[in-house]
């Protein structure tokens, strides 16, 4: 019963040409960078001069060290090399002793360069050769390599001392001359200069009997250096242009070295250097040089390593080859017609996590069978953007998700952010609110005010928006489970302030389906939840035309470990299910589809993420077309993106600035409509003012300091990106069809299939990290023992809770309880009968001051509270790991324990409180079982008392607690106390998840045996625990 839910007829959507596009908009269409005037979009037929360069895939990381004393230079160089540099450039050489400087440095595998040489060149050369001979013998010549950065002027100075020919014989792999690529010169002038120097060099050597050929100079003797500006697209194009022109002219590839300078006292500098580095890399630089600075060198080196190992920028040579925009700019800069360049085909693949094979090069022929290439922006299928002019007219909204403790505190924070340039609010609620409990409910002890703001009543909501004009501020609310009371409070608050609901703008997440797959903050069962969604659709389409009534979210799937294709497919499936739900509610497609929006997570795989967002828009148009909308906006997918919190590490938190910048750039290149950038301490705690500012500044930098906003889909047309988009489209279609064949997403969820798929994906991801197949800087490579202390924001949740309870008591005392009873009764009737709108009646109750818990509980009486299904798939970890040495060692330890203790080590894995993020704990459960533990799994949402009861009954050796929402300081000590009361303090308590290092001491004092932060290698943790157990029982 296979049905195709995609309308794939090629005549369905119009192919877009420049002419078509021009007709779509009446406003300004040009912009200026440097000397050029450009359109903001280019099309396939404008790609006349498509060109690529040959030979570059990876870049070297060079550190520039200013020579003071020999010893210090040596120490600095070793430090730089240890931290990932693969080349050193010594500055100001002047009577130094190279033997000391190069002590312990294996310069047969590195480049050693010299710049600003203050002494005679011969001195360096002789020393260098002497050391090389003594270390590597007579064959040293082929082994050592590097550059002498001798500028044009300096060259004259050195010419008497040593002839080029001479040097060439002695150090055949050393390059001698360095030429600055000057931004202010046109490419033509640039090349005139090069020619002049070539001539000069040849003249200088004229006296000797040899004549050095131009070829030799071009191929072997010269290097170029370049300093980038912030103009991202323009700089990529400049570098490409230079490479391509040089290759054409001299039939060889140039060596380009980009210097990137940073400000040593400003963390924001990392944002700028990151963007510049990406431009350099995409433009094909051979080397990136950064200055040595005691304080920050490590940070900036790690930035390079992250770019190299985590974001896969260099897997494809000239990845932007074919991009209409970049090729146009490149052409403009070169201003010459190009010959075809012959490319040697290499056949190695790199396989992505999605299982897509990435070739090392993409060309026109790669894109032969792709269907989507002719579609544009601003009209269906919106491949290149929902709007025709994109950021050139309207920048994306900077929407930072935040909220903590009480409404009062959050309100202060919001107002400050709005003042600082944030353009929309995004509200995070605490877990009790998400799960429909008032702050005085005994189940939520420890969770109140953590990870978001506590809202119990309309009063709290009023406080939250105090002094904020709701008719002007777009408000995004992350709420799914307790959506009815929260929407009711919000609408009632606005009305109380005299704002019509028609004026309200913003977004409510309202995506309950994904909660059943990943985040677990649902309240009612799937079918009942869908009824609620229907009522919200009905109400908002009737009364709140400017409000986005759902934000279909893939973010949480990505965070839970899903691959890009799964995130894409399942999110679109969810979207489709909501559309059907709306139709079922009696709405017409055009009445609500234009208000749907999507929410993507953006991870570190740069190009994949760009392709994902583009593919999503195209697929969605094809999926909605069968509903025959009249309004083209119904076919339009608008995106909100958030950079991945999962990709961040708690080790070296400042590295997260780099990660977030890369991800933000990908989101923007994909064409997102709004963006949340994570704060660098997201993996540890709530952001502080300082870290929140850096996160915001990341976006402000991209918007205001670069040329990114001028262009529409600037990477569109790139053979690589279009192919990747195409592959994702096909992969996603397969997944979508599979879900459809199960009867749609609700059915699939009931069978637990999507959840299982995502979890399998997550475990695979973890094994790849554990075995260092995927490198994460600071985590499984380049670990750094030094700890960066950063301040974190601490919430005194006892205080928050007491405060909330006090407010609740006052409200309950002062309100008219007969009014409440009546309102809640009507609400309950609406729930049991299919007629009557739940939201509408909840608003009445909210105005009468019913609390969140009361409203939610009224619904629960009819719908019941949904109990999670936990399915664990074991064996995945073992499958991936079976030959791993450490894995086998760990297995042996469990066997050893059994011999001593009479049974296998037994661990109860659990979450505490209302925190439903169970990805981490599930990975632990499956992998520990595969290692040889007996693993008990507790249900979600347990109180300390309930956890201890299970630990006692199951008689475990260990309780492993995962906490991601900040309740650990109250809940874990409570568990330990209860164990003591039952005389079972022999049970070892360990904790993991997001726990700030500052709390480690506190928890250890309370009796926590071990704490594993986010990003711990699972096997390492297992071995550590086993050793502890063995020690205890021996």
């Amino acid at each position: 019963m296979k049905k195709n839910i995609f309308l794939e007829k090629s005549s369905l959507f119009r192919k877009q040409s420049k002419k078509d596009w021009n007709k779509l908009n009446k406003t300004q269409k040009y912009f200026q960078i440097e000397d050029g005037k450009f359109d903001c979009i280019y099309f396939k037929d404008e790609r006349k001069y498509s060109n690529t360069y040959c030979n570059n895939q990876n870049w070297e990381i060079c550190v520039e060290i200013d020579l003071k004393t020999n010893k210090k230079a040596n120490k600095d160089a070793l430090n730089a090399l240890k931290n990932g540099a693969n080349s050193i450039c010594f500055l100001n050489f002047n009577n130094h002793n190279l033997n000391i400087i190069l002590d312990q440095i294996q310069f047969d595998i590195l480049k050693i360069n010299f710049k600003n040489i203050k002494t005679s060149l011969a001195k360096i050369v002789n020393q260098l050769i002497e050391i090389a001979v003594s270390r590597y013998g007579k064959n040293y010549k082929t082994k050592i390599q590097g550059f002498f950065h001798i500028s044009h002027e300096d060259y004259k100075k050195f010419k008497d001392i040593i002839s080029i020919i001479n040097l060439q014989e002695k150090l055949p792999n050393y390059r001698l001359l360095n030429l600055e690529i000057n931004k202010n010169n046109s490419m033509k002038e640039q090349f005139n200069n090069i020619e002049a120097i070539f001539q000069l060099m040849r003249n200088e050597n004229y006296n000797s009997n040899f004549i050095i050929s131009k070829d030799t100079i071009a191929k072997q003797l010269i290097t170029f250096s370049y300093t980038l500006s912030n103009q991202f697209l323009y700089e990529i194009s400049t570098l490409r242009a230079f490479r391509i022109a040089y290759e054409k002219k001299y039939k060889c590839t140039p060596i380009i070295n980009c210097s990137i300078n940073y400000n040593t006292s400003d963390d924001n500098s990392l944002i700028e250097t990151c963007v510049k580095s990406i431009a350099a890399i995409l433009g094909g630089t051979d080397m990136i040089t950064i200055k040595y600075n005691e304080k920050n060198i490590q940070l900036y080196l790690m930035q390079q390593l992250i770019l190299k190992y985590e974001s896969n920028l260099h897997k494809v040579t000239d990845p932007l080859h074919g991009s209409y925009f970049i090729e146009y700019l490149t052409y403009h800069i070169n201003n010459t017609k190009q010959n075809k360049i012959k490319i040697k085909k290499k056949n190695n693949f790199w396989q992505t996590f999605e299982g897509i094979n990435i070739k090392s090069r993409y060309t026109k022929s790669t894109n032969k069978n792709i269907q989507h290439l002719n579609y544009g922006a601003g009209e269906p299928p919106f491949l290149r953007g929902p709007y025709s002019t994109m950021y050139s007219q309207k920048k994306w909204t900077i929407r930072q998700y935040s909220g903590f403790s009480t409404a009062e505190e959050s309100n202060k924070f919001y107002k400050k952010n709005l003042k600082a340039g944030q353009t929309g609010l995004s509200i995070a609620f605490d877990l009790p609110t998400h799960r429909g409990y008032d702050s005085d409910n005994e189940r939520v002890f420890g969770d109140v005010g953590k990870a978001g703001v506590a809202i119990d009543s309309i009063q709290d909501m009023e406080t939250l928006f105090n002094g904020i004009d709701l008719s002007k501020t777009s408000v995004s609310m992350t709420m799914n489970g307790a959506i009815i009371p929260i929407m009711a409070f919000y609408i009632a608050t606005a009305e109380k302030k005299g704002i019509k609901k028609e004026q309200l703008t913003g977004t409510i997440q309202n995506d309950i389906l994904k909660e059943f797959m990943v985040r677990n903050t649902y309240i009612y069962p799937p079918a009942a939840s869908m009824r609620i969604v229907r009522d919200i659709f009905k109400y908002t389409s009737q009364y709140m035309p400017k409000f986005n009534n759902i934000s279909v979210s893939g973010y949480h799937m990505l965070e839970a470990g899903a691959s890009a294709d799964i995130e894409l497919a399942y999110t679109l499936c969810d979207g489709l299910e909501y559309v059907r739900n709306g139709i079922q509610a009696g709405l017409k497609i055009d009445e609500f589809a234009p208000r749907l929006s999507f929410f993507w997570g953006v991870g570190m795989n740069f190009f994949m993420e760009i392709a994902k967002i583009r593919a999503a828009r195209f697929l969605w148009s094809q999926m909605i077309a069968p509903f025959h909308p009249k309004n083209p906006k119904s076919l339009m997918l608008r995106s909100h993106c958030q950079t991945s919190g999962w990709s961040l590490t708690k080790q070296n938190p400042k590295n997260n600035i780099t990660r977030t910048t890369i991800e933000a750039l990908a989101a923007v290149m994909g064409g997102t409509q709004s963006l949340h950038t994570n704060a660098l301490d997201e993996a540890i705690a709530l952001p502080t003012n300082y870290t929140a500012k850096i996160a915001r500044d990341t976006q402000l930098f991209l918007q205001n300091n670069t040329d990114i906003c001028h262009a529409v889909d600037p990477f569109g047309g790139s053979y690589f990106i279009e192919k990747l988009t195409d592959e994702l489209i096909h992969k996603a279609k397969k997944h979508i069809t599979e879900i459809e064949n199960m009867g749609g997403m609700v059915k699939a969820i009931e069978q637990g299939i999507p959840k299982l798929r995502i979890e399998t994906s997550a475990i695979k991801r973890q094994t790849k990290i554990d075995s260092s197949e995927n490198l994460i800087i600071g985590l499984n490579c380049f670990q750094n023992k030094e700890k960066t202390k950063i301040k974190i924001l601490e919430i005194d949740n006892k205080k928050v809770q007491n405060n909330q309870i006090k407010k609740l008591t006052t409200i309950k005392k002062n309100r008219d309880n007969t009014l409440i009873k009546k309102a809640l009764k009507n609400l309950q009737t609406a729930c049991s009968n299919q007629d009557g709108n739940i939201l509408e009646l909840a608003i009445v109750a909210a105005k009468a001051q019913a609390t969140l818990g009361e409203i939610s509980n009224t619904l629960e009486k009819v719908f019941e509270r949904y109990k999670a299904k936990t399915i664990i798939n074991s064996g995945v970890y073992a499958m991936e790991k079976k030959n791993d040495k450490n894995f086998i060692t760990a297995q042996k330890l469990t066997d050893e324990f059994k011999l001593i203790n009479g049974r296998r080590p037994r661990i109860l894995t659990t979450k505490i409180g209302q925190d439903g993020h169970d990805r981490g704990i599930k990975i632990i459960a499956t992998s520990f079982a595969d290692i040889g533990f007996d693993v008990d799994i507790a249900p979600l949402f347990q109180t300390p008392k309930e956890i201890v009861k299970q630990a006692l009954e199951n008689d475990v050796h260990i309780i492993g607690i995962s906490s991601l929402a900040g309740g650990h300081k109250t809940l874990i000590p409570e568990i330990i106390n209860l164990l003591k009361e039952n005389n079972r303090n022999d049970i070892i308590v360990i904790a993991g998840g997001i726990i700030p290092e500052l709390d480690y001491k506190y928890l250890k004092n309370k009796g926590v045996n071990k704490i594993f932060g986010s990003g711990t290698i699972v096997l390492d943790a297992a071995v550590e625990i086993l050793n502890e157990l063995l020690l205890k029982w021996k």
């Binding site: 009479g902 008990d936 799994i937 249900p939 009861k949 009954e953």
Partner: protein, 320 residues
């Protein structure tokens, strides 16, 4: 901890000590085994009246969910219940995932319920004498109803049968040959067959139940099995099933079947434990190493000869 501490705890129904006592019976250490035996022999005398219910069926059929539904009902009626869930999946070489509690959220949090998931100790289907021991301990602690969850593979049913008073078998309707799906032999062992997840296909489930019931009329049983549809997930028919359980219990009691069963069960276990232990003793005794090695290495040794050699060596006196 001393035996007397264990006993005291068990009598007080102290969860921590109950947990540890069961661990003791599961341990593979010699010193624990000795302790366990002592403890159990005391427990037998503390034994109180209880109803033992076995719940069996293929993995994923809904056993844990069913126990949760039934358990909720029992708790409402103030019964104290113990659930012993045996994990089917583990084998000797690795650990296991004990996830049954996630399906029994309500029971997990109730003071009236005690749930102990156990990894199997390498036996087929997972039920072993450990389970039997755990039952003894739970009875000593005064639980009214003891439910044993186990997967139905191979001989497991026979083993569950041999430690329970009432055996419930859960199954699903599949495409096509529904009757075939229920293994022969199981029908004779079970008291109640439940066609679960009827919420997914109510009409079909009903039909199958009726036709199955009809086919059963012909088998000879003192008490006829009942075949019922059920939704463990939403609780459909649970009340009815509980009534049925009580009826069967009453009937069996009236006819003295339960008592008889338990005696037979004891004999069964006596034999089984005797066999197992004797075999173990002989296998590990150096005196017999020759015989066993010889037997193992030479293809032509007659097993009977080997056995009689061992018997002769062991029971010299008695054989005279």
């Amino acid at each position: 901890m001393e035996i007397k501490d264990y006993l005291e705890g068990i009598q007080k129904c102290d969860r921590a000590i109950l947990g540890k006592s069961i661990t003791l019976t599961e341990s593979s250490l010699k010193k624990d085994k000795i302790k366990a035996e002592k403890l159990l022999s005391k427990c037998i005398h503390l034994k109180q009246k209880s109803l033992r219910i076995g719940v069996s069926g293929t993995p994923g059929v809904g056993k844990s969910t069913f126990i949760e539904s039934l358990g909720r009902k029992l708790i409402k009626e103030n019964y104290k219940i113990a659930v012993l869930a045996i994990d089917p999946s583990s084998n000797l070489s690795k650990g296991s995932i004990l996830g049954d509690k996630t399906r029994m959220e309500h029971l997990v949090n109730s003071d009236l319920a005690f749930i102990r998931p156990s990894p199997n100790s390498g036996t087929l289907g997972g039920v072993s004498k450990n389970t039997k021991d755990a039952i003894t301990i739970c009875e000593a602690a005064g639980f009214d109803i003891i439910i044993i969850e186990t997967v139905g593979v191979g001989q497991a049913e026979t083993l569950v049968k041999s430690m329970t008073d009432i055996l419930i078998y859960l199954t699903l309707i599949q495409n096509g040959d529904e009757l075939q799906f229920i293994k022969k032999g199981i029908l004779e062992l079970c008291d109640i067959i439940l066609i679960n997840k009827c919420d997914q296909n109510h009409k079909k489930s009903k039909q199958v139940a009726v036709s199955l019931q009809n086919s059963l009329t012909y088998t000879q049983q003192k008490i006829k099995q009942s075949i019922l549809v059920c939704s463990a997930l939403n609780g459909f028919n649970i009340t009815n099933i509980w009534e049925q359980i009580k009826t069967i219990e009453k009937q069996k009691n009236k006819q003295g079947i339960i008592k008889k069963n338990r005696i037979q069960q004891n004999i069964f276990w006596f034999k089984k434990i005797l066999k197992d232990e004797l075999y173990d003793l002989i296998k590990t005794n150096p005196k017999f190493k020759d015989v066993i090695d010889n037997f193992k290495n030479k293809p032509n040794t007659n097993p009977r000869t080997a056995v009689s050699k061992i018997i002769k060596k062991t029971f010299k006196e008695d054989l005279k």
